[in-house]
C-alpha cells in the first residue's frame, strides 16, 4: 500500500477552475491494516522523490525471493 499526501492542507483545482485548500483525507489506519493482513508494507510518500524511492524499494522486494 502506498499513500500519497502531505500532512498539511493542499491546493486542489477543480474542473471548473475553482481552487481550494483541502486537508489530507488519507485513511492510514485502513491502508496499514491491508498491508499487515497480506504480508505487505505500508509506505507514505510526501513528495515525488520519496515516491520514487518507495517504488525502487518495492521493486527490490518483489525481485527478492
Amino acid at each position: 500500500m502506498v499513500g500519497v499526501a502531505q500532512e498539511v492542507p493542499a491546493r486542489l483545482v477543480f474542473p471548473d477552475g475553482r481552487a481550494e485548500y483541502r486537508d489530507p483525507e488519507i485513511d492510514e489506519a485502513t491502508l496499514t491494516a491491508i498491508a499487515n493482513a497480506t504480508g505487505g508494507d505500508y509506505f507514505r510518500a510526501v513528495d515525488a522523490a520519496a515516491l520514487q524511492t518507495i517504488f525502487e524499494q518495492i521493486g527490490k522486494d518483489l525481485s527478492t525471493p
Binding site: 502506498v2 500519497v4 488519507i26 497480506t38 517504488f55 521493486g59 525481485s63
Partner: protein
C-alpha cells in the same frame, strides 16, 4: 430529398482529404487521451479461486517478428492454466514449423492458429486473413499516429493516396512525402493499404465535371500510375485498393456516369499492370458505398457488384472492397433524417445494420463462385457529431458511447465470421487534422472509442494471452484517479507525479508481468498483466483524472483491491503482489477494504 440524405452519408464515408500532402503539418494539441472511462466491465467481486489444473501450451520462447518463420527453437511447451488456454491455440509445434508469423508475437505469448501464415506468401499476409486496421490522415502527425496504432495494437493502416497529388502533370511525380510516410509506417511493422483515386485534371475526359472525382479518359494512365506505386513500394505496401465508392456520381465524373463496365476495364488494366511488376501486391476492388439512391446519382452497391462479375471482373481482384456501415441507425424521430432513411434501417440496431450491409455482398460473391476471396471493409465507422454543421445533423444520433460499442462489436463480428479480411475503421485523426469538417465526426483520438479499443478491443485480447517469462512476482499496479489526486502538494500534482514514478517502474521491473488498473468511485480501466512495457507505459502516460473523463470522483478502495486480486487469479508466476496507490478514504463501492485484504491474504497476494 431521399437521394440527398443518402448522399450525405456516402460523402462522409468517402472521407478523402482531397488536399495536397505538402500542406503545412497541422498543429496538434499535446497528447492527452483518457484511459477507458465508462466502458470497463465491472466484474462483480465474488469468490476467487486459484487455478489448479494446468495443461501444455505452445508459446513463443523469443519475440517473433511478423513474416519471420517459426523455427524449432523459437517456440516450445510451457505449463498453462487449463481454463485460460485460447480456444484456437495450436496443440503441437509441428503445426507452426515451416509457417511464418502473421503478426508480431511477444515472447511468452500462446501460439494460436490466427498467427500462422503460409510461407509461400511473400508478404506473409494472405488476402483471406482477418486484420485489424484503421484509416489515418497522411497529413497527420506520423510519430504520434504510429504510437497510437501500437497502443491500439493494430496491424494495418490505410491511406488514401490522391493520384493527382503525386502526378500533378503527366509524367511528373512528387514522391517525396509519400516515401517518408510509407517508410515510417513500414519500419514500424505495419501493413499498409493504399486507396488510389482522385485522377489529375490532365487525365480526365473533357465532358467530365471537374468538381467531382472521376476516372481518367484512358484507363491505361491509371494502370501505369498504380503499377509505379506497386513497384516503388515493394515489400512495404501490402495492398492497393483500386478507386473507391465508384457506385456514386461524385467518384466517377458526375451524374449519369456510374458505369460498372467502365470500372471493370479500369480494374482489369490496373490489376494486370500491378501484378506484372509486383505479383505479391494484393489488389482490392474499390469499396462500394452503401446507398439505395437510384441512377443517375448512384447504383446500389450489391447490384453494382453483381454487374462487376457479369462484366468479367472476377480474375482481376484478390479481395472485394466494401464500405459496410455508417448509416445513422438509431431511431431519429426528431431529425430531418428520420423522413429520409428507409424505416427498416432506422429501427434496427447499429450492429445488425452493419451486418446486413455487407452480407449481401458476400452472397453475390458466392453466386459468382468467388466465395474463397475475402471481403475487405476498407472503410467503416459511426459518426458522432462534434461540429455544428447542419449537413451532419444525423451524426448526433450516435453518442460517443455508442460509437465505442458499435466499433468494438463490428471488429469482433468481422473476426468471427471468417470471410472478412483486414477491417479499416474510419478514422483515427480527422478530429485533430480536420476539426471543422464533417470528417471530424469520425475521428477517434481522445474519444471513448479509442479508450474502448485499447482496453477491450481485439488487440487487448492478445495482451491477455501473455504468460509470465520470469520466476519473480507478477504485480498489478492500482492507481487512484479520484479528484483529490489533483492536489498540488506534489509537483505538478499527485496524479502526474505518481504516473511518472509508475512509468519508471514499468521501464525497469524485469521479474514478472505487470498489470495496471485505475479506479475512482468504480474501477475505470484495466490492463491485464503483460510483459509489453511499451504498451503499459503508454497507457500509464494517458491516465487522466476521473472527473476529466466524466466519471464520479469517489474512492472505492475495496472494489479496486478486489478486482486487482481477480486480475492476478490466472497468474502462473510463483508470487503475486498488488501495488496500491491512493490518497483517500474508502467511500464508494461494494467491497469493504479489509474483506478484500483477507481475500488477498488467503491467496498469498501481498499488498
Amino acid at each position: 430529398m431521399l437521394v440527398l440524405a443518402i448522399f450525405i452519408v456516402g460523402a462522409l464515408l468517402l472521407g478523402s482529404p482531397r488536399t495536397p500532402l505538402s500542406a503545412p503539418e497541422p498543429q496538434l494539441p499535446p497528447e492527452a487521451v483518457p484511459v477507458a472511462a465508462t466502458f470497463s466491465n465491472t466484474t462483480p467481486p465474488g469468490s476467487i479461486t486459484r487455478p489448479i489444473s494446468t495443461t501444455q501450451a505452445i508459446v513463443a520462447l523469443q519475440p517473433i517478428s511478423q513474416g519471420a518463420p517459426f523455427s524449432a527453437g523459437a517456440i516450445g511447451h510451457r505449463e498453462w492454466p487449463a481454463n485460460n488456454l485460447p480456444p484456437n491455440a495450436i496443440a503441437d509445434e509441428v503445426e507452426a514449423i515451416g509457417q511464418v508469423a502473421q503478426t508480431d508475437i511477444v515472447q511468452g505469448q500462446v501460439i494460436v492458429r490466427d498467427m500462422l501464415a503460409a510461407a509461400t506468401s511473400a508478404t506473409g499476409v494472405p488476402n483471406g486473413d482477418f486484420g485489424y486496421g484503421i484509416q489515418v490522415d497522411p497529413q497527420g502527425n506520423t510519430t504520434a499516429n504510429i504510437k497510437h496504432l501500437k497502443t491500439l495494437r493494430m496491424n494495418w493502416v490505410k491511406f488514401q493516396m490522391p493520384w493527382r497529388e503525386v502526378e500533378p502533370d503527366s509524367g511528373r511525380y512528387q514522391w517525396t512525402d509519400w516515401d517518408t510516410l510509407i517508410e515510417a509506417y513500414a519500419a514500424a511493422g505495419l501493413n499498409i493499404l493504399l486507396t488510389i483515386a482522385d485522377a489529375p485534371h490532365w487525365s480526365r475526359p473533357p465532358e467530365d465535371s471537374i468538381d467531382v472525382d472521376g476516372f481518367p479518359q484512358d484507363a491505361a494512365d491509371y494502370a501505369q500510375f498504380v503499377a509505379q506505386v506497386a513497384d516503388r513500394y515493394q515489400g512495404r505496401v501490402q495492398a492497393i485498393e483500386v478507386w473507391e465508392e465508384q457506385n456514386i456520381y461524385y467518384s466517377v465524373g458526375g451524374q449519369g456516369r456510374v458505369d460498372p463496365a467502365a470500372y471493370t476495364d479500369l480494374l482489369k488494366q490496373a490489376y494486370t499492370a500491378i501484378k506484372a511488376v509486383n505479383p505479391d501486391m494484393i489488389v482490392v476492388s474499390g469499396g462500394l458505398a452503401p446507398t439505395s439512391a437510384p441512377p443517375p446519382m448512384a447504383l446500389d452497391d450489391v447490384a453494382y457488384l453483381r454487374q462487376l462479375y457479369a462484366n468479367g471482373a472476377q480474375p482481376y481482384l484478390d479481395a472485394v472492397g466494401a464500405h459496410p456501415s455508417a448509416l445513422p441507425t438509431r431511431r431519429m424521430p426528431s431529425t430531418r433524417a428520420a423522413t429520409l432513411i428507409p424505416p427498416v434501417v432506422t429501427t434496427i440496431t447499429a450492429v445488425s445494420s452493419f451486418a446486413i450491409r455487407w452480407k449481401p455482398t458476400g452472397r453475390s460473391m458466392v453466386e459468382n463462385g468467388d466465395e474463397a476471396k475475402a471481403i475487405w471493409p476498407t472503410d467503416f465507422g459511426w459518426a458522432v457529431r462534434r461540429t455544428e454543421d447542419p449537413r451532419f445533423e444525423f451524426a448526433q444520433e450516435n453518442t460517443p458511447a455508442e460509437q465505442a460499442e458499435y466499433t468494438l462489436n463490428a471488429f469482433e463480428m468481422g473476426q468471427t465470421w471468417g470471410w472478412v479480411g483486414p477491417m479499416f475503421l474510419g478514422n483515427l485523426d480527422y478530429n485533430l487534422t480536420a476539426p471543422d469538417t464533417g470528417r471530424a465526426n469520425f475521428g477517434i483520438l481522445n474519444t471513448p472509442t479509442y479508450d474502448a479499443l485499447v482496453t477491450r478491443g481485439l488487440g487487448h485480447q492478445a495482451v491477455a494471452d501473455l504468460s509470465p517469462v520470469a520466476a519473480g512476482s507478477d504485480v498489478v499496479i492500482v492507481l487512484d484517479i479520484s479528484g483529490s489526486m489533483a492536489a498540488e502538494d506534489f509537483a505538478p500534482n499527485r496524479l502526474e507525479a505518481t504516473k511518472t514514478v509508475i512509468h519508471n517502474f514499468v521501464d525497469t521491473y524485469q521479474d514478472g508481468n505487470i498489470g495496471y488498473m485505475t479506479f475512482a468511485g468504480q474501477v475505470v480501466s484495466r490492463i491485464q498483466p503483460t510483459t509489453d512495457k511499451e504498451l503499459l507505459a503508454g497507457i500509464v502516460d494517458l491516465t487522466k483524472l476521473a472527473w476529466d473523463i466524466g466519471l464520479d470522483s469517489g474512492t472505492a478502495i475495496g472494489d479496486g483491491l478486489s478486482e486487482a486480486i481477480e486480475m492476478l487469479q490466472l497468474s502462473p508466476a510463483n508470487r503475486q503482489a498488488v501495488i496500491f496507490i491512493t490518497d483517500g478514504t474508502n467511500n464508494a463501492g461494494q467491497v469493504e477494504p479489509l474483506t478484500a485484504a483477507k481475500e488477498a491474504a488467503k491467496l498469498d497476494i501481498r499488498v
